[in-house]
Symmetry: C2
Subunit: 293 residues, 2 copies
Amino acid sequence: MARTVSDVIRVRYDTLTRAERQLADSLLENYPVSGLGSITAVAENAGVSTPTVARMVQKLGYKGYAEFQSHLHQELEATISNPIAKHDRWASNAPGTHILNRFADAITANLRDTLSELDTATFEAAATLLRDRERSIYFVGGRITGSLAEYFFTHMQVIRPKTTLLSNNSSAWPQHVLNMRAGDVLVIFDIRRYEQEMATLAEAAVAAGVVIVLFTDAWRSPVAAHARHVFEVRIEAPSAWDSSVVTLFVVEALIEAVQSATWEETRERMSVLEQLFERSRLFRRPGRNGRAG
Amino acid sequence: MARTVSDVIRVRYDTLTRAERQLADSLLENYPVSGLGSITAVAENAGVSTPTVARMVQKLGYKGYAEFQSHLHQELEATISNPIAKHDRWASNAPGTHILNRFADAITANLRDTLSELDTATFEAAATLLRDRERSIYFVGGRITGSLAEYFFTHMQVIRPKTTLLSNNSSAWPQHVLNMRAGDVLVIFDIRRYEQEMATLAEAAVAAGVVIVLFTDAWRSPVAAHARHVFEVRIEAPSAWDSSVVTLFVVEALIEAVQSATWEETRERMSVLEQLFERSRLFRRPGRNGRAG
DNA sequence: GTGAATCTGAAAAAATCTCTTCACTCCGCC
DNA sequence: GGCGGAGTGAAGAGATTTTTTCAGATTCAC
């Protein structure tokens, strides 16, 4: 059963006429803000007449334009209201609000800013590199970001062979570089404060023909000079520490992009891994639910 | 300089009259959706007359109600529009959309749902436990969530003494339990699929008088039975894997809650740590910027 | 090519909204 | 107590919006 206005529009899209589709497209184009103005403004914006708007909303099952718009308002409310902030919006934007609210606001803004600056071509290119089973993939992070590198590695290790996690102790890096071949991929996490050794590592790797994918912040790590693909992530938080939430977001999206494109091959790996888990108590024993956690 | 409508209202709040404040409160109560209807609806909703609304918006510097509302629309647009989705909203909610969009939608929903169900008392209680320097804090996670435990640990280690990260190899856990004292805190990450050993560990720890703080998902780990404080986090993502983004969000908020409440003590630790970094190449050498990354 | 059905927008009618006027109330001050 | 100023909402004028009507345009079938 269709619930949101946009759902209703999509479900009934086939039954719409030319001018109505034009209107529907306009509404969905910048949904739901585009439907917030007067019927006149909406009509003008879509390049149709006001009767067309009035007719369509009734055709969609609303009693009139007012009811249609009221539905949009309710949707907006459900979408934007921060549930904790809700019961005390007044205080919520003032200083001294609950940390969770301030964090939620900051992270939402970070996500938005990051996505708006993120080039989908970069994303696709990185995903393509990571799903290429001919290449070995190396992961490395700093003191804080090491956990992110590990998280990424843990997933990729299940999905594909030839994955290696570099410890975040730089003394062990040279041996790894020795093993790297041209075409291999080195995924580096380098958020301020940037670590000198990281740039050195990158330089050495590039000299060996390795392709570098870098996760950094808006101030850009010096590694960027050596990287082929750079993910610039927003990390500001109302905290003494930077936030890795959005970085993790991009990592997870990449994991899924790699996974879904190579599902056939991955499935086999996962089922073998599953059996190993089941068989041996030396490995972690899985619970009953259906996913890897 | 005030920018958003809500800022303007707050800045001028002192200059408002009784009925106007009543209106302002109503507007901020469910900002900005409450300001989306007609001037009549807004007035009715706030329990004031329409002239009061008309007067106030002019007093706030808008030419009329129309201009006032148009500002709200612009704010809403900036707030809700997913920048990538924006240029192709139509496709954005349909299956087959870019992974980044689908992830962004899912994570936003997860964050909202998690926050709405999260008890701030639980949050405060957990933060209070973690900032108590008399207690030792232990962190443990599973195969995937181990990285989150490590991330949490890495920060807490800087902030306070007596923090320990348990490896995610369960064979090493018994020795750790041996060291735990009554009142110590064990932070457990257990997301589906739940690991049997985790519940065993929790049970043993509780028997030793340890307080357990648990991060789990909506299906609740069996550890929940032993935990004093449970964070139930949404993990659904349009992926074969679960999302840890919101879990990390809560962790970061907790870190800040602990950090800010004990800043005086933490500062000293951080500056000592800083000197250690500077002094020895055996440790990671920091970059030039002002934060720990 | 003709006719019927459908679609569309101009225009007018009806409804609603925005804004202004104005009288009343409230409160402090003399 | 009465005066003056500020605040408030009822009422209505004017503007705008929403809805309906209707005639021309378009499409499709035959």
